[in-house]
């Protein structure tokens, strides 16, 4: 719970949910009538995605995730196990790299708030890595009895590395055997408790040199330590043979203890008892063990090294109960316990509750699903657990101004609902620049989301039209194959022409090429411009033919015919006869069609390009009729005349 800075204490708050944030505001108290604050506060649920160091985690894990999805499904999962283990290690190394960077940042941070924040993030990442590593050992690597303990030993050693630092401190002192940490280091902490017996022996030798009188005792301990059998998974020894050997060794140690061989040296006796797996002695050194799972592994090492995966949960539960006085486990403890009980779903559930973002559970579940370890029971709303978690994670990513691009790949790999989610989310990405719009469009086009393509192109095209960038608008409507919008743009051009008398953006209209075919109006625009060009080049007969075809082939909208006929006027008035009799008849027909339709549609919704008063209209029509008649006469004469 946190106080939201800016809202006065005691005030009522209203709020509204957003995709990843909450909007909070002070409400007005009607009774008192006092004015409330005019600010709206944005409360972010998930701080992590905005942390620059953690962002690297999200990007690198995205890369690993995509690589994981592309592993082919045809091989049986047994042969893919080493691949999955290596992917799991990749994830973990990414977590570790992040942790190291956060640690450095915490050390070099200037203010204590930041340092504490970094420190918190480091401890969360530590816990995450611990859980992930255990899941890798138990679920993905799924070692059988014998190797299982070895893997668990590695796991504990990896997460209890302060031992080596202490040892270094001791070794570097002038007289290591008399260092006050010596027995701690040797006697209980890492070496014996972690089963690192070689290192124990080396350290003990230093002590042995100081006490020549007790030489035989040290020699005995040394031989016991050297004889402890460790299971070799690659070797020829079977588990049963190893078990027998181990029991023999265990009995030998027990005999020496009962013989009081180590009675005179308290430390060596403690070591001996630990070697026998004496739980009381182990529990006496709780601070060195520091956690119940460390206690568990040590206990297993010295009592039951051939523990089977199915037996783990019993030992785990008892270890936890023995170790924890208060009896109330922390969230981390219950998660680890659930893992030891092989209850994957419980692990995921507890992690989801304990952590503040979905990163960990989404990726871990996805990996476990690939290893075919999750039973595919469907959740209430149709998708399975993996998909649900991935969708939640990706939706959270999508609210980030920058990481939304990573989220797209996650949606792609959710077969049931991924596409729907993506369709809804991608439309809400703000499009500030053309480059961003192009990237979003590429995403939509690759997934055949034609509706989203159309809507994005329309947004960009409308924006372009508003800013008078007609070329850009046209290129957007070409991309969306939006004939209606292309028509709109062409009408804008034609309106501009009627208003100014010249075309703007000639570079666009002159070079339309095949895009002309997108819309009728666009074709007309291109052809009309061509007519102007021909007229300018004085190719009058070609120009005339084109002009006529624009009307007769109904390419030109009828509302524009008046302009076209007016354009025909100078051609009719030329000394030379340009329009043939046939063509003149057609022009007259067009004129009649136009005038009759104008009369009937006088108050209609037809777009009239050129506004004109009645008398002007009448004059124009009369002029045209006159010109057409004169032309007809000349044409008939010309065509009737025999050339001599």
């Amino acid at each position: 719970m946190q106080n939201i800075s800016g809202i006065r204490p005691g005030k009522r708050m209203g709020f509204a949910w957003g995709p990843g944030d909450i909007l909070v505001y002070e409400t007005q108290n009607k009774a008192s009538g006092r004015r409330s604050c005019a600010f709206i506060h944005v409360v972010r649920k998930d701080e992590d995605i905005y942390s620059p160091i953690l962002r690297k985690l999200f990007n690198e894990s995205h890369h690993i995730f995509v690589g994981l999805q592309t592993i082919k499904d045809d091989l049986p999962s047994k042969s893919k196990k080493p691949q999955f283990v290596s992917i799991s290690r990749n994830y973990r190394s990414v977590i570790r790299a992040c942790m190291e960077e956060l640690q450095q940042a915490a050390v070099s941070a200037n203010d204590t708030d930041m340092a504490t924040q970094y420190g918190n993030q480091v401890s969360i990442l530590l816990a995450i890595e611990l859980i992930w590593n255990l899941c890798e050992v138990l679920f993905i690597d799924a070692a059988p009895a014998g190797s299982l303990l070895l893997h668990l030993l590695d796991w504990v050693r990896l997460h209890k590395s302060d031992v080596d630092e202490k040892a270094k401190g001791v070794l570097q002192s002038d007289s290591p055997a008399e260092h006050r940490d010596y027995w701690d280091v040797v006697c209980v902490l890492s070496y014996v408790l972690q089963g690192r017996l070689e290192d124990t022996r080396k350290m003990l030798m230093k002590q042995a040199m100081l006490q020549p009188a007790a030489k035989s005792m040290y020699k005995l301990m040394d031989s016991l330590l050297s004889k402890m059998p460790f299971y070799n998974p690659g070797g020829t020894q079977t588990l049963t043979e190893f078990d027998v050997k181990w029991r023999n060794w265990h009995e030998e140690v027990d005999r020496y203890l009962k013989d009081n061989s180590f009675a005179s040296n308290q430390h060596l006796e403690v070591i001996c008892k630990i070697l026998l797996g004496d739980e009381d002695v182990l529990l006496e050194h709780k601070e060195l063990l520091s956690t119940w799972y460390y206690f568990l592994i040590t206990r297993l090492l010295y009592c039951h090294p051939t523990v089977k995966p199915t037996e783990l949960h019993y030992y785990a539960q008892s270890s936890m109960m023995m170790f924890l006085d208060s009896g109330v486990p922390e969230p981390l403890d219950s998660i680890l316990l659930a893992a030891f009980e092989f209850d994957i779903h419980q692990v995921i559930k507890d992690c989801s509750i304990a952590l503040n973002n979905w990163w960990f559970v989404a990726h871990l579940t996805d990996l476990l699903d690939h290893c075919k370890l999750l039973q595919s029971h469907n959740l209430h709303f149709g998708s399975n657990l993996r998909e649900f978690l991935l969708l939640e994670y990706a939706s959270g990513l999508f609210t980030h101004h920058s990481l939304w691009q990573c989220a797209v790949d996650y949606f792609d790999h959710c077969p049931e609902f991924g596409r729907v989610y993506l369709e809804l989310q991608i439309e809400r990405v703000p499009l500030d620049t053309e480059r961003k719009a192009l990237k979003v469009l590429r995403i939509c086009e690759e997934r055949q989301m034609s509706e989203q393509v159309r809507s994005i192109c329309k947004i960009m095209a409308m924006r372009a039209v508003r800013n008078n960038r007609l070329g850009s608008a046209l290129s957007w409507s070409i991309r969306a194959k939006d004939a209606a919008f292309a028509t709109l743009i062409s009408e804008r051009f034609l309106q501009d022409y009627c208003a100014k008398g010249t075309f703007s953006d000639l570079d666009l209209i002159d070079n339309l090429g095949s895009t002309m075919l997108l819309s009728d109006r666009l074709t007309f625009l291109g052809k009309y411009r061509e007519f102007h060009k021909l007229y300018g080049e004085k190719c009058f007969s070609d120009a005339a033919k084109l002009l006529l075809s624009l009307m007769t082939a109904k390419i030109a909208p009828q509302s524009f015919w008046m302009t076209l006929l007016t354009d025909a006027l100078p051609l009719l008035e030329q000394k030379e006869v340009i329009f043939s009799a046939e063509q003149t008849y057609e022009l007259m027909y067009c004129l009649e069609e136009l005038t009759s339709s104008l009369i009937t549609a006088a108050s209609g919704s037809v777009i009239i390009y050129c506004r004109f008063h009645e008398d002007v209209e009448v004059t124009k029509v009369e002029m045209l009729r006159l010109a057409l008649a004169r032309n007809l006469a000349s044409a008939i004469v010309k065509e009737g005349t025999m050339q001599t």
Binding site: K56, D432, D505
Partner: protein, 370 residues
């Protein structure tokens, strides 16, 4: 061999700082610009091996951040003006010169034209910038071409409404001539001396007008120009001859964002694209040797010549214009190890290549085979 450095910001531009040719050294400093962040930055990095004296190790370790500065808006264009100054083009329409102070290792804003590119009542992103000290040329979504001079606040020349659509990239053809590409698939040649509002020459592909996003000129043969656009095709143009490209090569499956000829070894060309790949093109005209004697080849690409070269002495015509025909061979190599998000930018100098991606990673390769 590539190493990825994750930098917590999507990299839109990456450029090497030019090295003085007298030293013949490999470039060590590069600048990057970010985009799509709440707070965008321009950063300067160093890849020098300070401790490692072994030269054959090539690159060693990650690039180190030297300094960075806040940048208003996405960095859509970035270019080194000289050893100390960097020009950027912003999505807010501003053109900014940053100065890198070597002794204090900081960056600060040295000069800025805030609303260089704009619409009547809105900001227009400035999409590209190119410079040849002290002249700076910028283009934007508003279709303007602006010529600026460093150290002078006023704009030397503005070509209003140079284009009815967005101009995406600009490059120098000669000292007073520039080429621009736009959203309707046209290359326009502008002569800056003429102070006119229309282009001297327009080249375009017939057929589909595919928007073009990048252009680069051959360093030695100034009539050869390469462009890339929305369909990922690499086009080679000869600006002297006609208005059509002389060869088209299928390069990428999505938009091509940048194309660069290698500045000193122009038989090599590099392109990067939205599809997450970076290709290294190498041409050679040893057509006499049968291909099986030429050693192993990487995947060659299909291409088609858009028009047959008319007459002339074939051996003098650059291998680039021939594309992948019987006269010359074209080899392409993927330079990035695996699929990434879009590669937005690349720069190559000497044997060093740097590129930035939307996966918030920078890749550096210091042993490019050129």
């Amino acid at each position: 061999m590539e190493s990825a450095k994750y930098v917590s910001q999507k990299v839109s531009k990456a450029r090497w700082r030019p090295v003085s040719s007298s030293f013949l050294q490999q470039p060590e400093i590069f600048a990057t610009g970010s985009w799509d962040n709440e707070e965008n930055k321009i950063s300067i990095w160093s890849v020098g091996n300070y401790e490692n004296s072994g030269l054959e190790d090539g690159f060693e370790g990650d690039p180190q951040l030297i300094c960075e500065n806040k940048h208003d808006g996405d960095v859509l264009g970035l270019q080194f003006l000289d050893q100390e100054r960097i020009v950027t083009a912003s999505s807010t329409g501003a053109v900014t010169i940053f100065r890198h102070h070597h002794n204090s290792q900081t960056i600060s804003v040295s000069q800025q034209w805030v609303k260089a590119h704009h619409y009547p009542c809105d900001n227009a992103p400035c999409t590209a910038v190119v410079c040849s000290s002290p002249e700076i040329i910028t283009v934007g979504e508003d279709g303007r071409i602006i010529v600026l001079r460093a150290d002078q606040d006023c704009m030397a020349q503005v070509i209003e409404n140079a284009d009815s659509s967005t101009i995406h990239a600009v490059t120098y053809l000669r000292t007073t001539e520039i080429l621009t590409v736009n959203s309707i698939g046209q290359i326009k040649l502008w002569d800056l001396r003429q102070q006119s509002n229309s282009a001297s020459q327009i080249l375009s592909l017939s057929g589909d007008r595919v928007p073009l996003y990048c252009i680069d000129r051959h360093p030695n043969q100034q009539h050869i120009v390469a462009t890339g656009g929305q369909d990922g095709m690499l086009c080679m143009w000869d600006v002297r001859q006609g208005s059509m490209p002389s060869s088209l090569m299928e390069a990428h499956s999505a938009e091509m964002w940048e194309v660069h000829f290698h500045p000193t070894n122009p038989d090599h060309l590099f392109t990067c694209s939205e599809d997450g790949s970076l290709l290294h093109w190498e041409t050679s005209s040893h057509s006499d040797m049968p291909s099986f004697l030429q050693g192993s080849r990487n995947s060659s690409v299909t291409s088609r010549s858009a028009m047959a070269l008319a007459g002339g002495n074939q051996s003098l015509i650059s291998a680039w214009l021939n594309g992948d025909s019987s006269k010359s061979r074209l080899e392409t190599t993927h330079m990035l190890p695996s699929q990434t998000l879009s590669v937005n930018s690349l720069d190559v100098l000497g044997q060093c290549l740097v590129c930035g991606t939307d996966g918030e990673a920078i890749f550096i390769n210091k042993q490019v085979p050129v």
